[in-house]
Amino acid sequence: MAFSLVYLDSISSPLSGASLELIAAGRRLGDPVVVSAQPVSDESVAELGAAGVSGVVVPENAGTEAHTNFLTFETQLLAIALSETEASGVVLPNSLNGKEIAARLGVKLNAGVVTDAVDIAEDGTVTKSVLAGAYTTQARVTEGPLIVTLKANSVEYTAPAAAEEPDLLEIPVEDPAPGARVVEVREKAVSGRPDLTAARIVVSGGRGVDGDFTPVEDLADALGAAVGASRAAVDAGWINHDLQVGQTGKTVAPQLYIAAGISGAIQHKAGMQTSRVIVAVNDDPDSPIFEIADLGIVGDLKNVLPQAAAELRKRND
């Protein structure tokens, strides 16, 4: 069987769910070889082996900041790993960095890139959702390796029957391209709530919260849900842009999406209309969000949400 490459930004111990999903996707294309620009500990190598990884490739002097160019080093590393292993495909996370590396690799190797994948078949057919969720398409590469960025929570990981004992390969990498320089990296505050794109339940607030996200956050916490927002609420400065759901924010597809005070502009629907169940609370009965909601409540979210949160807490006791 051919090899596949799985690019991981960083490797935690134990391995993150996101890393395991990427490895699971890689296993469909070949014997997975993990590539990372960060150093990988012996402990992590063993854990990668348990996940079915047959090799680990890192650059010489990994993590020593020998390279300063933003993402061109990672691209070069992957290009070398690909030519050494003759892998049939490369799986990367569908993050901004993952897409940028994938794009560059496509040009370097004259290879096809598919972004936003939600599934990868063993024959290399990639499934994705396009036009704001209106269509599902399947794409393939016409020749050469497949480069694909995989959305989180798309592919299920199951542990392989037998563990591998992967070799750790250190390869020399020079960073040739004139790149962008990193001036500063700021860690973001952690909210304690589930990650928006991974959560089973999302409670989002829009213009109708009128500056106060408390009822939205309160219901979210009663449900162990993530908090989201419409662009109107973000643009008003009521909540951080990271939590924006929609065309220019996050795309979510939870089991349950509760839209509070959100009218349902096409740009917002683009980010949430593939959710399994949608509930809308809005005081305007003509809001387009009601056209796609499984349950619509015409009412004031400041009354409805706290009452629901209190009832849920009561039933939980």
């Binding site: 036009l131 269509y135 004139p178």
Partner: protein
């Protein structure tokens, strides 16, 4: 802020199906149906960023709007000219239809090189049709210049371009020396509307039309022949149907709690 020397900025614009209407993929070739098209909303931020770089730099700075697409795609360039771009370039050739990001970036890179020396090439964060976000990085790779992508804010100081970029866990401050490729998000600025004066002035601005032959690109380097990906199937998702709508009688919160519990997602 700005450059003491005149800068030449290229704003890349794309003519895309209007997202306000239902958009379709034809079931035979699995290609986007391109009627009811407009300048991609996200490219307005690229044009605005280009105009702001010009306005903050020395006199003599120019903004060129560049598009690749069929005959009607010139409308995307015209909108950019109305907003304030100085001149336009429209690359149009039947062979280009069906190009993936890899082939599209090949055409754009050739057009950018044909257009002469530049300081900054600016794009939006993605097109609103294919939404891959691949082209900016592919251009940087092809043009061998630095890339500053997904910028939430942009500053030019002399010949150094500096941006902020937000990802999930961290935010970055990145910088690069000109010339560079830059992509901007919808957080970067507030695009101006074309006013009467802009619309009238645009009528006197020129749009140069170029074919693949003008760019020295052969037909087998673009379209399906030059692409490395092909869409093999497309299926329209069934439209969602709205369900029960109730009006709050003072107890809708209780109904909401019951509905949530009935979903068995907790």
């Amino acid at each position: 802020m700005g450059s003491p020397n005149p800068v030449r900025v290229l704003a890349l614009v794309k003519y895309v199906p209007d997202a306000q209407f239902d958009r379709h993929i034809d079931s035979a070739e699995h290609r986007m149906v391109r009627t009811e098209s407009i300048l991609s909303e996200l490219d307005e931020y690229a044009v605005e960023a280009a105009l702001q770089l010009k306005e903050s730099s020395a006199a003599g700075s120019t903004v060129v709007a560049l598009t690749v697409g069929p005959e009607q795609a010139v409308n995307a360039v015209k909108k950019a000219l109305q907003m304030g771009a100085d001149e336009g370039i429209h690359v149009s050739d039947p062979a280009i239809a069906g190009s993936d990001a890899l082939a599209t970036s090949r055409v754009l890179a050739a057009a950018i090189e044909k257009a002469g020396p530049f300081d900054v090439v600016i794009t939006g964060l993605s097109s609103t049709d294919a939404e891959t976000s691949l082209v900016p990085a592919q251009l940087a790779e092809r043009l061998s210049v630095p890339l500053l992508s997904f910028a939430n804010s942009v500053e030019l100081e002399g010949s150094t371009l500096r941006i902020t970029r937000d990802s999930d866990a961290v935010s970055y401050v990145l910088e690069a020396d000109l010339p560079a490729v830059l992509s901007v998000t919808d957080q970067a600025n507030e695009p101006r509307y074309p006013n009467f004066k802009g619309i009238m002035a645009a009528k006197r601005k020129t749009v140069e039309t170029l074919t693949l032959a003008d760019l020295g690109v052969s037909a087998d380097e673009v379209g399906t022949a030059g692409s490395r990906t092909v869409v093999v199937a497309s299926e329209e998702r069934p439209a969602r149907v709205g369900g029960n709508v109730i009006t709050d009688d003072g107890e809708a919160g209780l109904r909401l709690a019951e509905f949530i519990l009935a979903q068995k997602v907790l």
